[in-house]
Symmetry: C2
Amino acid sequence: MGFDGRQLTTQLDADGTLTLRLAERDWDAPTGRNLLVRMEAAPINPSDLGLLFAAADVENADYGDGRLVAQMPEKVTRSMAARHGKAMPAGNEGAGTVVAAGDDPAAQALMGKRVACVPGAAYGTYATCDASMAFAIGDDVTAEQAASSFVNPMTALGFTETMRADGYTGIVHAAAASNLGQMLVRICLADGIPLVNVVRSADQVKLLKDLGATHVIDMTEDGFIKRLADAVEETGAMLGFDPIGGGTMASDMLTAMEAQATRGAEFSRYGSSEDKKVYIYGALDTGPTKLSRGFGFTWDVSGWLLFPFLQKAGSEVRARMQKRVLSELTTTFASHYSDRITLDQMLQKDAVLTYNARKTGQKFLVLPNG
Amino acid sequence: MGFDGRQLTTQLDADGTLTLRLAERDWDAPTGRNLLVRMEAAPINPSDLGLLFAAADVENADYGDGRLVAQMPEKVTRSMAARHGKAMPAGNEGAGTVVAAGDDPAAQALMGKRVACVPGAAYGTYATCDASMAFAIGDDVTAEQAASSFVNPMTALGFTETMRADGYTGIVHAAAASNLGQMLVRICLADGIPLVNVVRSADQVKLLKDLGATHVIDMTEDGFIKRLADAVEETGAMLGFDPIGGGTMASDMLTAMEAQATRGAEFSRYGSSEDKKVYIYGALDTGPTKLSRGFGFTWDVSGWLLFPFLQKAGSEVRARMQKRVLSELTTTFASHYSDRITLDQMLQKDAVLTYNARKTGQKFLVLPNG
């Protein structure tokens, strides 16, 4: 017995041609611990865009019927040699209904249920997913409400778990007006964690203040680093999370933290001995990270990624995090979508140019069976 | 009872004027755990130059009698506000004879002894030093042989201790032909630690090969990163130490490590999940560190500094390290000096331009009573 439908794939060839295609396919009945989920809603997260388009030139792409062909810069093409020639499905997460399940009791337990899931192939009529990456949602929760219940919520909670594991007591967050950033504001308010939010406009300041945020800093205004240092002093936040990656954000955070740490202290050419750290967890700017190193020798810049973090955190922490997400899905972890599109619309120029711009406030939800 | 002599100091004023001065002074008899050491030999290490000159324009300085006045760039001057107006002694380490000691038994035990020490003020006729930062040397060891027995030896040993503590099994070392780099080659050979040496010339390749080094890579030759990745594959060295700091060395190391980690692996847009880390422990290039981030999200770049490391390592590890340094002072930890100068000569233009150039193969020893 097979299931017929359509699936979006992205393929990068060695010559730099990137092809997104929406094609017919069928799914076999799942075996073992696998589920087959009829997808009802799937968000487009920045991490999805990294796989779908990376740095391809979507502005000058060739948009055809169920197909999009764009050119990838040569350097990026070379750095992705392992994906050359492979049509890869996309879409980390979503929500839907389990229409078939393998023999394993863990899979059978979810048969017929409405679930939030992380199949890594959510942009399709159906998606196959391991039972451990899906969890049942209540009747009072819609697919749309449950669609983003993994990546952003677990990432935001993961920041606070990481903070505790690393021995810090406050967080500086860049690009903090994002959906993820708003969740982090609500978590930190509820948990009493000092949070410094760095944003890029007065509107974003208002947005976060309205949520109850105490420290919101507009980086486009004068004296950014001085104001950031003041906020670090007030909060003791010596741990940063930066989704921008390129440019000087990580360096600016460390500079502000060091300025705070050395206020009134004796001069040391090696800088303060106070620990300070920034995790880079995204690449909104794909250019190089530039560290001025005007912040001594006691510092750390590191990559942060959800799945390796979850693996290291262990099953007990994961279960605790997931339980909280489920119980606060429509409050703390509520996502807001600016646009809802079908699989077909995912390949239309207007939509692509908008959702691939990764602008704060614009978040797309895909309705694969819409 | 006082001790008369001369001491070199360095002072940075708020207007950017840097003044090095060799002036008469006297030292009181030491109290408590303090020693007074008559200094016989003190090396000029890169870390000393950071305090003495930082980024001052020594080429166009005013060289006078026992005095040197240079201009510091404005940005650097501002970043060092805590030292403005203070005449600071310099010289991390050296060797000499204890001519007076405080009442504490730890100090009295070293009275009259020849010692290697870390007074932080070695460029003077005398220096005061805590007894815990000095250790007696054997009669068969000269002051010159003992002068560099702390900073470089403990740093090189510290790298291997750090490697073990962080769970790595091999090291990539940049600017590896330095005195420190040569010690690291000998330590790694003796301890069976895989070491990849990155150098800048064919001469330096020969120098390290003659010491017995297996992997020596000339970064000025074509295909540097490819060759580095090959060496990483052969050695499993996923931990780097970089004294350059500015530019792309740390990034290049991570790129090579990632290239090795993903050879033959499935594509993941997040990169490999293999841990890779680079410590920046110097600033031979004071420009910004540029990280291309073409190496996934599992990476770490961090500052490394000897004294915080020693503090974290604990007294047992420190004692073990120091014991080894003393017993291998004329073999594993032997330093080679290209020039020997007096305190007066430290302020002469020819000498300053040479020793402040931080060139591999040029290492100065100061004879404060010479």
